[in-house]
Amino acid sequence: MNETPHSPEFEAILDECLDALLRGTVTLDECLEHYPDYATDLKPLLQTGLLTSRLKSPEMPAARIDALEDRLRGQMPNLRSAQSRVVQGQFSSLAKLVAMIAVVLFFALGAGGSVVAASSNSLPGDPLYGLKRLWEQIVLLLVPLTGELDDLWLRLAQTRLYEAEQLAARGELTDAALVDLYESMVQSIALADEQTLPQVEAYLDEVEQTLITIAPSPETMTQYLQVLALSSGTTPQVHTEPSDQELQGVPPTLDQFGLTATLTPVLTDTPAATLTPTFTPSVTSTSTPRVPPTATRTPTQTLTVTPTFTPSITPSATWTPLPLPTLNTGGDTQPTRDPSSGGVQPTSTRILPTVDATIRYRETEQSVFMTQTAQPPPTATGAP
């Protein structure tokens, strides 16, 4: 076969003729007659095209088509699930990214993000304070994705303490600010783990010192304590285990700073440790699951009560409901606000390890504080 000329014009003529031939509107001879100058070169190409178009095509058997359709239909539910997982995965990744950015901004800029940084130093009552709290809520919603909830709550608790301090300096400290402080304190204790425990302990010491400092008078201090008890209706009390007969019927009254905090042992038919801790708990973790309760009273009026108890989530009749958080060394509990009492109690939806708490209530010349050594709480009643 001779070399056929290659030009756009020839290619166009070839295509025009092929189109007409394949549609059956012209014959081969008619096409060649129409382009006599190219007839020699066109003929073998048009014949080859025509022959190729007559090539019988294989067909896929109907049974195979149906079988494949069934197979594809069977894959569709899995595909839909996979699509959903992909979307969820993408959303999850995006949410995590957003959360990380939010957390980074939070820690970098204090309590505020880039836009609300100006509000980070605002105090309750300030125009920007609402923005500051809104930003905190957003970060709280996102931060569980990053696993830094304990750090965040500790930071928030420190912020609330700072705010309380600043408000006190202005003479504007309110009950609401103390309640906020208390709630953040509860969350910090509840979420503390081995890594954050020292920081939480330091924070609690700081809270204690701050409240002592900012209390303008013993009466105010009492008020603060009452507010921190979240209006539980009781004066902050420590109910000790009745195993120590020396304590029975001896409710020491503490009047340091004019504080009227009574230590009232509660006697019950069944020995049950009841804690109504007062004021600022400092926390130390212990690996000892149970400590035999001992309570001694020294002539110096330093009372050390070390009850072993495992409180239940729902306080029994022999317990005085307490708003004080328990330290969750397992990091597995989230106290929730009890709307009836205004207190914060461990939620029953999360299983907490047993608690071994040691409460030491000491009266010194400088302060009154309680040390609570806690391990996860809920069920079981303590036995002497």
Partner: protein
């Protein structure tokens, strides 16, 4: 299938509606099978590869973006990639020289049936010796009967480029058939 109808089915299929994808499948499965069968000359293998094409299409439906081209153009691209991958993995692609060696001459004493069979075999062998682009154009243009503009749309090329490919493909085929003693005019006369 009308373009508007196809677009509606595509939207439904992307939402995971099985019936919509099934309709698209039924509309195009034979064309995809024919394309693959012409490329691999092995019907059972072509069936498996057709199944693979639609499985991949189903999996990729969420990513499919309607760019104004027929849905089958997307399927052809998947099928083409599958064919290329097949030859790459099996290294069984026939070389042009091998094809020429196997082309059997058409002799005048062949009866019509034998002539047809022999012509078909020879022609298939000659097509399989073309380049990938040329094979695509030959199959879509002469076997599937699409116009140049449609083929260009399917392959993502300009119509003039397809015309040039068509010319080179026919020239190559005619040359091989001639070298094999294949008288196209005689065969066409026998087919008519």
């Amino acid at each position: 299938m009308e373009r508007a109808e196809e677009q509606r089915l595509l939207r439904q299929a992307q939402r995971g509606e099985a019936e919509a994808f099934a309709q698209l499948y039924r509309a195009h499965v034979q064309a995809i099978f024919r394309y693959i069968a012409h490329r691999v000359s092995d019907p059972p293998l072509a069936e498996d590869m057709t199944a693979d094409v639609f499985t991949r299409a189903l999996e990729a439906m969420p990513k499919y973006r309607d760019q104004g081209k027929p849905f089958i153009a997307w399927l052809y691209r998947i099928a083409h990639a599958r064919v290329i991958d097949h030859y790459r993995r099996t290294s069984r692609r026939p070389a042009a020289s091998d094809v020429d060696d196997e082309l059997l001459p058409i002799t005048p004493d062949m009866d019509t049936a034998m002539l047809r069979r022999q012509a078909a075999r020879t022609l298939r062998m000659a097509i399989s010796g073309l380049t990938d682009d040329q094979q695509q154009v030959v199959i879509l243009r002469f076997i599937e009967g699409h116009r140049i503009e449609t083929v260009a749309e399917m392959l993502g090329k300009q119509p003039n480029a397809i015309k040039a490919l068509q010319f080179r493909a026919l020239r190559a085929l005619a040359g091989r058939l001639e070298r094999a003693g294949f008288d196209v005019e005689t065969v066409l006369a026998g087919l008519s």
